[in-house]
Amino acid sequence: MARTHRDIIAAVFLLVLTCVFYAATFTIKKTSFGTVGSDVWPRAVLVGQGVLCILYLANALRGRYRSEITRGGGIAGWFSTYRNAMTCFAMYGVFLVTLPYLGMLIGATLFVFLLFNFLGGWEVRRMAVHGAIAVIAMGAMWAVFTYGLRVILPEGEILRIW
């Protein structure tokens, strides 16, 4: 996807976002106390943002960002470029969803192990090394936070510590 098109989409998205938030300022509760209402500052910010978004859109439509085009390949090219980042985000999301069940120790170790394998390769020898690093690194970190800094990390349902 060309950079210019992406910028047009981004500008339109930001404009819509600004409008939604501006509309939401009318739902902010008015108080009988306080000289300045709670909606004044957000509105001022949103007006400024709206003006800037219109400028951004105008620049994008005029092809001002054409020189910044870096890669082509359409949706497939874009997906291939950001596959790693998207998978990492997804894995992190799964880690957070499963956190109440697996707990921080098991969840973080599994997350790191799977991330290592995804980014580094699934060969058996590598997986053994990845497993060892994940267990040692997360175990040490968990111990430092739990016993050193006295932070009660989520323990989950499997491994009850407290």
């Binding site: 950079r3 992406r6 910028d7 930001l14 938030f21 939401a24 300022t25 902010i28 509760k29 306080g34 000289t35 300045v36 209402g37 709670s38 004044v40 500052w41 957000p42 001022a44 910010v45 949103l46 400024g48 943002q49 800037l52 400028l55 951004y56 620049n59 960002y65 470029t81 950001y82 790693n84 980042a85 990492c88 985000f89 992190y92 880690f95 957070l96 956190l99 109440p100 973080a108 997350f111 790191v112 991330l115 290592f116 980014l119 580094g120 390769g121 690093i133 994940a134 690194a137 997360m138 970190m141 968990w142 936070f145 050193g148 800094l149 006295r150 932070v151 009660i152 990390l153 989520p154």
Partner: protein
């Protein structure tokens, strides 16, 4: 009084645990700064969770250790492999790497280390002397002035942090918008939560910051799978013996360059947003212009190592001056340090140094001391750096991603903070991909509350908006803000288009107006001198027929 404060601060600082933590902090900073792609900010972010259980002085001393170490760590990679460890040591590679390739890596490293040390010490002295003075000026500020100062900080950040000003300003307003989500600080009214309970109190500041900066940075580092599987640096880095004695002689014999570059570093640091990545290039450029042998620059010239290294370490002191005296963070690193202070219930403001002298002078002393520790630790960390370079990028990314999550959870013991980290990590990566600079957004998040609070106070005192223009300091910052919008363009086009001939003089004359409005004799006198000098500059350009640089050469 000052001596008493220093003694009290030294008493709090010079304890075995605090010293040990500082040594660890400096070592961590040196190694982190040496790894390309692993910035000082990320090192500070990772240190932050460990400081929760510490006293404020211990926590800040540790983070200052990382800060100073990080600035100096970049030179190891830059000199030994030609790849700068951090953006603040880019110019070090111009002469450091050639000198190392000429068979003098020990001397090149020594010059870098000692230039960093002296730059840091000079800026520490200026920090101790200037911060209380600036804080005294800050006491004159009313809410109108603070509000205008925040606007200036945002405009200059947007101007300096990217090629596209509009995108930079949008990033800044997005940051301000994020700061408005949740309960309003003044009236306690809920805003923009859309019925979603976890954000009724707003987003916690540090998860947003870490997500935007560290999380998105880590994931952009592993986008290329092949690159992610390679070691952090190509082979070439070897531990060498640093030639300390000769390096000290070489650095001190070029004291003019050292002092000039350090001053450039300090004043660049004082400016919001202009950090070490700018000061090292500026100092290198000035050293080259001032040199009798500019043709030697780029071929292993010693002055070319001294200038960037002394400037980047001095920048840290400059950034701390603004944060300590006014409570306005100068860059992302000081924004995180501000967050660390807030965690310990310490709110930097113009009264901070007077109200909490032990802590304030403890920070001054810790910054001073960190430079000494940095020199002592450099040789040890050089070996560790060589080992760390063998680690593969994806290993580091995986461990740090998990660590960020644990550290952020430890902040408030709330799982939603980890979701905030993820959400803002995604936003950060998308923004980076679209060419939006992240620094204005981060500063927007940090400064949003300060701006709103001061606007509210100003409008509560008087609904007269002209006060923003009639109060001298407010007008001063608004003029600076207006001119700062064009600052990046000015730097790029300096001497190539006609308006750049007028720009500095016009800015100085405009800034003289609020100075004339101030009370006393000193500031109006300064304004008079500045105006006369600017008029003389304009007259000189007029006499030369408004000739550009190329036309003058012809």
């Amino acid at each position: 009084m000052v001596i008493e404060n220093i003694i009290a601060a030294a008493d709090a600082l010079f304890t075995v645990p605090t010293m040990a933590l500082m040594v660890l902090g400096v070592a961590a900073g040196l190694i982190a700064g040496a790894i390309p792609g692993f910035t000082i900010t990320m090192a500070i972010v990772l240190t932050l969770p460990f400081t929760f259980g510490m006293t404020p002085i211990q926590g800040l001393a540790t983070m200052l250790g990382v800060y100073v170490g990080g600035f100096s760590g970049g030179l190891m990679a830059g000199i030994l492999t030609g790849i700068p460890g951090t953006p603040s040591s880019v110019a070090t590679t111009f002469d450091g790497f050639p000198l190392a390739r000429q068979g003098r890596p020990g001397l090149a490293l020594g010059i870098g280390v000692w230039a960093s040390f002296f730059g840091g010490v000079i800026s520490a002295v200026l920090l101790m002397t200037m911060a209380p003075q600036l804080a005294r000026i800050g006491l004159e500020f009313g809410p109108w002035d603070f509000f205008s100062l925040v606007l200036f900080a945002l405009t200059i950040t947007a101007s300096l942090s990217g090629d596209n000003l509009v995108k930079g300003l949008i990033a800044g307003t997005l940051g301000l918008l994020v700061a408005t989500v949740g309960s309003d600080e003044i009236n306690g009214v809920e805003r923009f939560s859309f019925g979603f309970e976890p954000i009724e109190q707003g987003f916690a500041f540090l998860p947003v910051l870490v997500g935007l900066f560290a999380f998105s940075q880590l994931l952009s580092d592993v986008q290329d799978r092949q690159a992610a599987r390679r070691p952090l640096m190509p082979p070439g880095a070897e531990a060498v013996r640093i030639e300390h004695a000769q390096a000290i002689r070489e650095v001190l014999s070029r004291w003019g360059n050292l002092i000039r570059s350090s001053l450039i570093g300090v004043f660049t640091g004082i400016l919001p947003a202009a950090g070490g990545s700018i000061s090292n290039i500026l100092a290198y450029d000035q050293a080259k212009k001032a040199s009798k042998t500019p043709e030697l620059f780029g071929s292993g010239c010693i002055d070319g190592i001294i200038a960037p290294e002394s400037a980047n370490n001095a920048t840290a002191g400059g950034a701390l001056i603004t944060m300590m005296a006014l409570g306005i963070p100068g860059d992302i690193v000081t924004a995180i340090m501000l967050g660390a202070l807030l965690i310990h219930d310490v709110v930097p403001s113009p009264t901070f140094i007077n109200d909490q002298p032990t802590l304030a002078y403890g920070i001054f002393l810790a910054f001073f001391l960190a430079n000494f520790i940095m020199v002592a630790m450099q040789a040890v960390c050089l070996r560790a750096f060589v080992l760390v370079t063998k680690v593969r990028m994806y290993i580091l990314t995986g461990v740090i991603l998990a660590y960020c999550g644990i550290g952020i959870f430890a902040l408030n013991n709330i799982i939603f903070d980890m979701w905030t980290l993820l959400i803002f990590g995604v936003i950060g990566l998308i923004m980076k991909t679209l060419g939006f600079p992240l620094a204005p957004m981060i500063l927007g998040v940090v400064l949003g509350h300060i701006a709103e609070l001061n606007l509210n106070r100003a409008l509560s005192i008087s609904d007269d908006l002209t006060l923003f223009l009639t109060r001298p300091w407010s007008l001063f910052f608004l003029i600076l803000g207006a001119f700062s919008i064009f600052f990046a363009q000015y730097q790029k086009l300096r001497g190539k288009v006609r308006w750049t001939l007028i720009y500095p003089s016009a800015m100085a004359i405009c800034l003289a107006v609020p100075l004339f409005m101030m009370q006393g004799a000193v500031r109006p006198t300064i304004a008079g001198v500045v105006t006369m000098f600017s008029v003389w500059l304009l007259w000189r350009h007029k006499r030369r027929g408004w000739k550009l640089v190329d036309e003058v050469r012809e």
